[in-house]
């Protein structure tokens, strides 16, 4: 595992993420999920990657993968403006609290999710939430799509600059479509 970009997320433990250098490989893992969920944080509405909003990547990934969307913080408004109604609206800790329970019905009431991706949540809050899931939700796998290493996820992107992040997300979308 690489050192996380932000030192507040430096890892103190034994079980850390697998850094996915290859976006196609991450896409392949995501495609195997039965009930994937994409949890979106406020940075989705704030980050622009070479003319494309991060939120647009999120929507594209969710649609391609058939993943349910959970809008945290105030992302719902941005999604509605983009013409997408999220499947659920919680704050980050609330959705994580639900995901802990293997018997939870999930945001679509079809059963708990088996693969949860996170995008656009504050790095410290995100890593803390992932810690909860690592310890208390062995029934699911987690992945982060943000541009930094998140040690507490099962799968994380490497630390990337914006241009490489954009390239990664483009390749991942390609991988999901293929």
């Amino acid at each position: 595992m690489s050192l996380p970009y932000y030192h507040v997320n430096v890892f103190t433990g034994i079980k850390s993420c697998k850094v996915m250098e290859d976006p196609q490989a991450l896409a392949k893992i995501a495609k195997k999920a039965q009930r994937p969920l994409l949890v979106l944080g406020p940075q989705c509405g704030e980050v622009n990657l070479g003319g494309k909003q991060l939120l647009d990547y999120a929507i594209e990934i969710a649609k391609t993968l058939g993943a349910a969307i959970c809008a945290t913080a105030n992302v719902k408004k941005k999604l509605l403006e983009a013409g997408v109604t999220p499947d659920s609206t919680y704050d980050a800790v609330e959705i994580i609290n639900h995901l802990k329970d293997p018997a939870w019905k999930g945001v679509k009431k079809e059963g708990n999710h088996d693969f949860v991706m996170f995008l656009g949540i504050r790095p410290d809050l995100g890593n803390q939430g992932l810690s909860t899931l690592k310890h208390f939700a062995p029934h699911l796998k987690t992945a982060t799509l943000c541009k930094y290493v998140f040690p507490n996820a099962n799968f994380s992107l490497p630390n990337l600059k914006n241009d490489k992040w954009k390239e990664y997300l483009d390749n991942m979308v390609q991988g999901l479509k293929s």
Partner: protein, 765 residues
Amino acid sequence: MSKGAVKQKEINKTIRAEDNWEPIGPTPMPEMSDLRRWDMRLMKTYKPFYAPFCDLCCFCTYGKCDLTEDKKGACGINISGQQGRWGLIFSLMGCAAHGAHGRHLIDYLIEKYGEDYKIDLGGQVDVEAPHMRTVMGLKPETLGDLRKGIEFVERGIIHGVSATHMGQEGSDLDFESKSLHIGMLDHVAMEVADIAQTIGFKFPTSKAETGLSGLGWGAVDKTKPVVTCVGHNAAVASVMIDHLMKAGIYDQVEVTGICCTAHDNIRYSDRAKVIGPLSKQVFFLKTGIADLIMSDEQCVRCDIPQLAKESGSALIATSDKISYGLDDVTHKEVDEIVRLIIEEGKQVLIRDVDKAGEVAAKVLPVVAKNRKKELVTKEKAQELAQACKKCELCDRVCPNFLNISTAVSDVKEGKFDMMTSVFARCVGCGKCEQECSKDVPIIKIMQAAASWDTYNIRVGRGPIQDVEIRKVGAPIVLGTIPGIIAIVGCSNFPEEIEEVAEIAEEFAKRKYIVVLSGCAAMAAGMKKDADGKTIYDKYKPDFDAGGVLNVGSCVANSHITGAAMKVANIFAKLPLRANYEVIADYILNRVGAVGLVWGSYSQKAFAIGAGCNRLGIPVVLGPHSAKYRKLYLSRKEEDDWTVMDGRKKELVNTEEPSPEHLLVVTESKERAIITLARLCIRKNDTAQGRQIKLNHYISLYKQYMGSLPDDLQNFVRNDKDIPIVYKKEVIEYLKTVGWKPKPLLTLPTFIGTYESNIPIDAVVK
């Protein structure tokens, strides 16, 4: 251990059981587990949620132990237990900080005035100490009685610390119960400390409209000698002001403060000024504006001696809790200490309050004479920034994820907008500067980008008046005043400092009662509208609908929770005396009060939150607080919301998640605002009250989320609850989600839903 006759006799003596101001309730001076069943009931609905910050336990020599997932440590503890233990440790640290602060003040004041010195909080505050009354069963009358309060807290702390040792407590729920207990004691400690300083230093009390004081680093007259007090203890600064007055030079100097001592200074003297919250400590001390720095206790930087040297400021440390390795000169004569500071440039520790105050007053004008105060200009800042190679190490260590490297690069080119924005978000840790391999003085550069505007802050007013409670008690409980929003705590804000003022104003203009304290109260004053007014200029300082009031420093937080207790006592006529469970149950189910700790940082903030939670007051935290490792969350759709209807003595499944959480983190200001409005909802609301609360919830949700709330069906009991202005669309929405009317009840209570010695009749008055 159950209480034996000897113990009971000791309690009766301490609380003067023969005094008949109220009957003695079931839990006088409760021990660690006396309220455990209440805690367990709370945690049945609001289960602990853990987010481990570290997967290991490093407490003993068997370790390090990996506790990942279901692994146990060498002592048998698991990851949940370890998080619970951290929570107890944090509560203890916070409670001990307030308790030791209170102990110092009381010992000092008893030396000065004697233990029989009377408590008098003015004609408008008869219920002088709701926490001591409710928790201990003691109605304090003198400083000596306040000391009993601190002794009670100290005893609890020892017990609590012992439980954290290896081979003691292991259950996460029991750690939580103990943490809540210590949180409760923390409010007793705070109350004791604030009453002591209010009577000892004659701070304002029984007065809503306190004055306005200068706020902001720009408010300081740099041409005068400047002393800056950092910390939380009013004693030394008050004595110093007395000496400056006695010397006839008080109007020729500037007495300023950072963090809570600043609150206390302006309560003591209308000439004192508040620099700002904790997050501006490093920034201000690096400006060198302070000729003399006086440190006392709590939230004081550990590196103040270095900061003072760097800036050429003199330093007097005054607390044995923060001695910095300095020479203790307490035993020396005043003139000798003055000589050491002025002639030898020594930084000193003086543990005697009176001597420290006298020395400070003598030193200040002299040390100021030979100092030049030059702020960093834009040209200078540009020059200082030239060494930056944009390696981004500063970005990587920033706990607020600020793009510092780009801001510094911009400054290199003479552009300051981004640095201004970074400064507004800076939490003041100084790690960026430390990390810089080129030694770029980033915090100093901020001097050229910061606003040097001046602001106003309302002087802390101490306790809420009984007459105010009489006026607002009914509207709060019925819901027609939609809630009490208490914005408290530190300045570890996720975004601009201005967000605190924006949140406060959002609720003040909607006629909630907005109460502030500590660093949050300072931050709230640091935003002006188009007319140049702060929220303290714009809103009345009353504990009433639409009021914005500052109670004072950290320890004055006890007056906010105390106000909720007073509603139960003065409005609902419930006895406080040793009656904690009933009072907490009343507040949880019937008083729409919510705390917001948007910038929580310290362990004191954690303990204050724990005390609020045990008392039934939900707390909303900013995103940094996920690092506190634990929350108390419900799951609104899945959980059981059955309560007792106290009048009918029937269990009722209300299906209503109110309040939904006891301790929750929100990520954005918008989400925090919506969550606060939702958490003000109580089962006790009348239809009129519920309409008002839902009107605000819907309006805020639409404003920030762009639609009707998707949990609205949980809070509409029948069509009378629906706000008229949204009636049509709400009814349409409710049809789409299959909403059905919910049972109504007039006296919701947890009493009777769990095993307790409290009869249901105890909550019916």
